[in-house]
C-alpha cells in the first residue's frame, strides 16, 4: 500500500498548504485594518502533526499571531513584503505537492496497464 500512504500524506500536505494560503490571504485583506495582527501557522509542526494523525483525518491547524513585526501607529503590523514572499512560497509548495501527486497517479496507471 505504498502509493496510497504517500497519497494520503500528500493530501495532508496540500490541505495544510491551502490553509496557510488562506491565512496569508486574510493577512493581505487586512493590510489597512487598524489593530489587526499578522497571523500564521507553524508549517513544520503542523505537518508533523498531520502526518502522525490516522489516515483520512486532517487536524485543524493552529493559527497564531506572529511576533517580532514592526507595528504601525494604528496597531496594525502587516508587512506587505513578508506576505508577498510567503504567498509565492506557498504557491510553489502547492505546485510541488500537485506535481508529486501527479507522479504517484502516473505510477499507479503504469502498474495497472502493465508495460504497453
Amino acid at each position: 500500500m505504498g502509493n496510497v500512504s504517500i497519497l494520503s500524506q500528500l493530501e495532508s500536505y496540500l490541505s495544510l498548504t491551502n490553509q496557510r494560503e488562506t491565512v496569508i490571504a486574510s493577512n493581505m485583506a487586512n493590510v489597512d485594518t487598524p489593530g489587526y495582527h499578522t497571523k500564521d501557522l507553524d508549517f513544520q509542526h503542523e505537518l508533523a502533526r498531520a502526518t502522525a494523525a490516522p489516515d483520512g483525518t486532517t487536524p485543524h491547524a493552529v493559527v497564531r499571531d506572529v511576533s517580532g513585526l514592526l507595528e504601525r501607529p494604528d496597531g496594525n503590523n502587516v508587512d506587505i513584503d513578508r506576505e508577498a514572499m510567503k504567498l509565492s512560497e506557498v504557491q510553489l509548495q502547492y505546485q510541488m505537492g500537485t506535481q508529486l501527486m501527479k507522479g504517484e497517479f502516473h505510477q499507479l496507471i503504469t502498474a495497472i496497464n502493465g508495460d504497453e
Binding site: I24, D32, T33, P34, E83, A84, L87, Q91, Q95
Partner: protein
C-alpha cells in the same frame, strides 16, 4: 476551509478597498462644495472604517461551520463597517460676492487637504493590487488541482 475560501477573503478586501477609493475620490470631487442637500452647510470630508471579520477563534469556527450565505464576508476577510464624517471645522474664506457667504462676507469651505486624499487613494490602489495578485495566486493553485485530473 476549502480551495475557494482564500478567493472569498481576497474578494472581500477588493470590494472594501474599492469603496475606500470611491470615498477618497468623492472627497476630492467635493473639495470646493459649499452647499449640500438639505442646506446643512459645506460638504464634510468622509472617511471609511475597516474591520476584520471572524478573527476570534469562536467566530471563525462558527462561520466555517455554518455554510457561507451569499453576501456575507468570509471569516478572515475584511469589511467596511461604516463611512464616518470628519468633524473638522470648515475653512472660512473671505468672498463677499459668493451666494453662500454669511453676513460678514465669509464662505465656509470643506476642510479637505487634496494631498491627504491623494495619499489615501494611492494607498487603497496599492492594497487593491496586492489583493488582486493574491486572487491570481489562488486561481493558479485551483488550476493546478484541476490539472491533477488530466493524465
Amino acid at each position: 476551509m476549502g480551495l475557494f475560501s482564500a478567493l472569498n477573503i481576497s474578494a472581500s478586501a477588493l470590494s472594501a478597498e474599492r469603496e475606500r477609493s470611491e470615498v477618497a475620490v468623492s472627497n476630492l470631487a467635493n473639495v470646493d462644495t459649499t452647499r449640500t442637500e438639505g442646506g446643512s452647510g459645506p460638504y464634510r470630508r468622509r472617511e471609511v472604517v475597516l474591520e476584520s471579520v471572524g478573527t476570534s477563534p469562536f467566530q471563525s469556527v462558527l462561520n466555517n461551520a455554518s455554510d457561507l450565505r451569499a453576501g456575507t464576508v468570509p471569516s478572515g476577510g475584511v469589511k467596511l463597517t461604516h463611512v464616518v464624517e470628519d468633524g473638522a471645522d470648515p475653512i472660512r474664506r473671505y468672498d463677499p460676492g459668493h451666494p453662500d457667504a454669511d453676513k460678514d462676507g465669509y464662505v465656509s469651505f470643506p476642510a479637505i487637504n487634496p494631498a491627504e486624499e491623494m495619499v489615501d487613494l494611492m494607498g487603497s490602489v496599492r492594497a487593491y493590487q496586492l489583493n488582486a495578485s493574491a486572487v491570481s495566486a489562488s486561481k493558479q493553485m485551483i488550476q493546478q488541482s484541476i490539472d491533477l485530473l488530466k493524465s
